[in-house]
């Protein structure tokens, strides 16, 4: 009994899973509504921004803004899942491994299901602003062509995000190739970095002709091609439309093909390579667990286990790698574009703390061991923060050094590090209570970017909100640093450490109290539904 299977059952399955995930769970519904609000906000802002050139009746502005804006959308779909959101893996490809489905059917279905979601809808509405602009400039025919363009653009966005995250997940899954994956990720970021620098440097000189010429080039790449075809009709270059359509379709087809390759390996290869390290060790169990300097106590055991987990768990490792890259490239790009990288410092510091936002979700049901052994909340929270800080503080030091070098002012090192540490401490103070109140289960898939079904985007937005809050709370210190610039060189580091420590102590105290009261509830929250 093998009938023809289309894409529609996959979409219905996805929607059904989302709805069931929400049923009877008010906190999830709240998160979902929050996510919907953010998506709506993004859609409205995006629509109105893309509609501006049309309202201003400027073909020149439109020819700059539309391809570049479209390219920004595609890049956003590429990078945001990697850094913040994760991918909604409610339809885990591995679950379909045993069903008699052709690869083509499966990919079409998964692709259609990926399109059925808030982010895709928001993107579509936002890019509809381009149709508005083109309609004002070139009439209904051009608008029709642009409408086809934005639909293709949406397909491109979703295909890019799926293909890249799936490829990364496959690469990071097997322990053998993790180093390779780390390098390729770094290379990718390294390729984006200089590009971004060039773009920002160009934008800084505010030479509109340069922007327009960049935009003309982008319009011929897959990033901008689908978003520029309506304009071509409006500008009387209709001959370009078929070529650009071809570019877009080829890009989408190539991405889908790439995705189908990695999905296939994800379906069969979940067992992973069990590198059986046969060389038996003669060291004692406690010595094997503890790092050399760790105290032989409960605290030492917790810290050592966490440190090993940050590296051995693919999800956590992906988190560390993306943060380390972000922490290096954000200051570079912003230091080039603006004279004061101060805002970035705070941003990087808070971003570091975000890794702990769902720290118990990483553990999943394994956290039960800490409950049955009766670990007090304060020890648990402090140990986890210390383990994370051991990875993070050297990175922050590297960021501070980088900023000092970039601004050609080595004396700024101490003050910048102070700001970073303050922001990190405040970020931890905000994130730790959140990690207990808003913990959520991660699915039992080996995909480090996978999120559980239901309100996946909303959880990403919640962390964004924390990021904002962290920046706001750190702002006073930033202002002090700005107004006392000469003195800040000297007091920056101690003042920053004090500010961060205060933030951490308040937040971790609240978190420890909550943990003592809510251990079983926390365990239930991080247990994946089976």
């Amino acid at each position: 009994m093998t009938g023809k299977v289309g894409a529609w059952p996959f979409v219905r399955l996805k929607l059904r899973l989302t709805a069931n995930g929400l049923r009877g769970r008010s906190s999830r519904i709240a998160l979902f509504v929050l996510g919907a609000l953010f998506a709506g906000f993004f859609a409205i802002v995006g629509y109105s921004s893309f509609a501006i050139p049309g309202v201003a009746d400027s073909l020149f502005a439109a020819e700059s803004a539309l391809p570049l804006g479209g390219a920004a959308l595609v890049l956003g779909w590429l990078f945001l899942p990697l850094v913040f959101f994760g991918v909604d893996e409610s339809l885990d490809p591995a679950r379909f491994a045993l069903l008699p489905l052709h690869r083509r059917t499966l990919i079409t279905g998964l692709f259609a299901a990926a399109l059925a979601g808030l982010p895709a809808l928001a993107t579509l509405v936002a890019s509809a602003g381009m149709v508005d602009t083109v309609a004002r400039l070139g009439g209904p025919a051009a608008a029709g062509v642009q409408a086809v363009g934005i639909l293709l653009g949406l397909l491109l966005c979703v295909a890019v995000s799926r293909a890249v995250t799936s490829a990364f997940a496959t690469a990071l899954r097997s322990r053998r190739s993790r180093d390779l994956a780390a390098i390729s990720l770094a290379l990718l970021a390294a390729a984006i970095g200089p590009l971004q620098l060039a773009a920002l440097a160009g934008a800084q000189r505010a030479d509109w002709d340069t922007v327009a010429s960049v935009s003309r080039v982008v319009a011929w790449t897959p990033l901008g091609a689908p978003y520029s075809i309506g304009l071509d009709v409006a500008a009387g270059r209709a001959w370009q439309v078929p070529l650009k359509l071809l570019i877009s379709l080829a890009a989408i087809a190539a991405l889908l093909w790439w995705w189908s390759r990695t999905v296939e390996s994800a379906m069969v290869g979940t067992a992973g390579s069990s590198t059986n390290r046969t060389s038996a060790s003669t060291r004692s169990p406690v010595d094997l667990l503890l790092l050399r300097w760790a105290p032989r106590t409960r605290f030492g055991a917790l810290v050592s286990r966490e440190i090993r987990y940050w590296w051995r768990d693919a999800r956590r490792r992906a988190n560390l790698i993306t943060f380390s890259i972000a922490s290096l490239f954000l200051p570079i790009s912003l230091a080039v574009s603006t004279s004061s990288p101060g805002g970035t410092t705070i941003f990087v510091g808070v971003l570091a703390a975000l890794a702990l936002a769902n720290q118990f979700g990483f553990d999943g049901t394994a956290y039960a061991a800490n409950i049955t052994t009766g670990v007090p909340g304060r020890v648990e929270i402090n140990a986890r923060a210390v383990a994370h800080a051991i990875y993070t503080i050297p990175m922050l030091l590297a960021t501070a050094t980088l900023i000092a070098v970039l601004s050609a002012d080595p004396a700024r090192l101490a003050g910048t590090l102070g700001l970073l540490l303050a922001a990190y401490g405040v970020g931890l103070g905000l994130v730790l209570p959140l990690s207990i109140r808003a913990a959520y289960a991660l699915p039992d898939t080996p995909n480090p970017f996978a999120m559980s079904s239901g309100g996946g985007a909303a959880k990403g937005f919640l962390t964004l909100a924390v990021l904002l809050a962290g920046v706001v709370v750190s702002l006073p210190l930033q202002l002090i640093a700005l107004f006392t610039a000469p003195v800040w060189l000297w007091i920056g580091l101690p003042a920053g450490i004090a500010y961060g420590a205060a933030g951490y102590l308040i937040g971790s105290g609240i978190a420890a109290d909550q943990l003592d009261k809510r251990m079983p509830e926390l365990l239930a929250a991080v247990t994946p539904n089976r």
């Binding site: 009877g24 992973g272 069990s274 059986n276 390290r277 046969t278 060389s279 038996a280 060790s281 003669t282 004692s284 169990p285 406690v286 010595d287 094997l288 667990l289 503890l290 032989r296 106590t297 409960r298 030492g300 055991a301 917790l302 050592s304 286990r305 090993r308 987990y309 051995r312 768990d313 553990d363 999943g364 049901t365 394994a366 039960a368 061991a369 800490n370 409950i371 049955t372 052994t373 009766g374 670990v375 251990m519 079983p520 509830e521 365990l523 239930a524 089976r530």
Partner: protein, 245 residues
């Protein structure tokens, strides 16, 4: 162990509807029930992993919800369907559990080595627990529960997925433990094991205790399986259906 009127609701479904159970000290207690009977839910509430909606649980006289530190210090648990910190190696995992229990490092080392040898997991084995077979995972979980020499062991499905040789070994360990004055409570749906090991049994279905007491009293002159099927109900044979199979 003494459970008094434990109740747990999930959304609207009543998973455990008022379970009261007295486990005498030094007994080998088997908790029987079909899938979905509420065994795991009951044991989770008894050991402090799941907060009951009503009722209370005393472990060796300490209330696990009012005085968790005292109760948990005397308790060893092997939960089912719960992952271990499986990205540690076996020895590392035992070291972790030992130190979390507040034991001193020398004792942890000595006991962990002994447990790893006896359970044939290898004291120098550097395979991560995540790469262990299902049976090996059960064994390392049991080792973690035994490490601090608790007076009460609560084991959820300790014999599931364990090969016959290892099962015999685990049986021997548990029998010695009870002979030494320890108390074991474990859940299972394998009659033979319960019949062979336990001196007390309880039968659960649909969140309610149907029967409990000393094995001979529950069993009467029938086999435990007959009693179980009779108490729980349900069909054990097919009629004319499935003719196409």
């Amino acid at each position: 162990m003494s459970l008094g009127g434990l109740v747990k609701r999930f959304d609207t479904k009543l998973a455990v509807a008022g379970v009261s159970l007295e486990v005498p000290a030094g007994s080998f207690y088997g908790l029987l029930g079909p899938n979905g009977a509420g065994k795991t839910t009951t044991l989770s509430m008894a050991v402090g992993l799941l907060r009951p909606d009503e009722g209370r649980a005393l472990l060796l006289g300490y209330d696990v919800w009012a005085d968790p530190t005292a109760a948990k210090a005397r308790l060893g648990v092997l939960p089912d369907g719960v992952r271990l910190f499986d990205r540690l190696t076996g020895p590392e995992l035992l070291g972790y559990h030992g130190l979390l229990r507040g034991m001193d490092a020398a004792t942890v080392d000595q006991r962990a080595r002994e447990l790893l040898e006896v359970l044939e997991l290898g004291a120098g084995n550097r395979t991560l627990v995540v790469d262990y077979s299902a049976g090996m995972k059960k064994k390392i979980g049991l080792a973690c529960a035994l490490l601090h020499a608790p007076r009460l062991l609560v084991l959820d499905e300790p014999f599931e997925a364990v090969d016959p040789v290892s099962a015999a070994l685990i049986r021997d360990i548990l029998q010695r433990y009870v002979a030494g004055g320890g108390t074991v409570v474990f859940s299972s749906h394998v009659m033979e094991i319960v019949e062979r090991l336990c001196d007390h049994v309880a039968i659960m279905s649909s969140g309610v205790l149907r029967m409990h007491g000393p094995l001979d009293q529950v069993r009467g002159d029938k086999s435990l399986e007959e009693v179980f099927v009779q108490v729980v109900g349900g069909r054990v044979a097919t009629g004319s259906e499935l003719a196409w199979l």
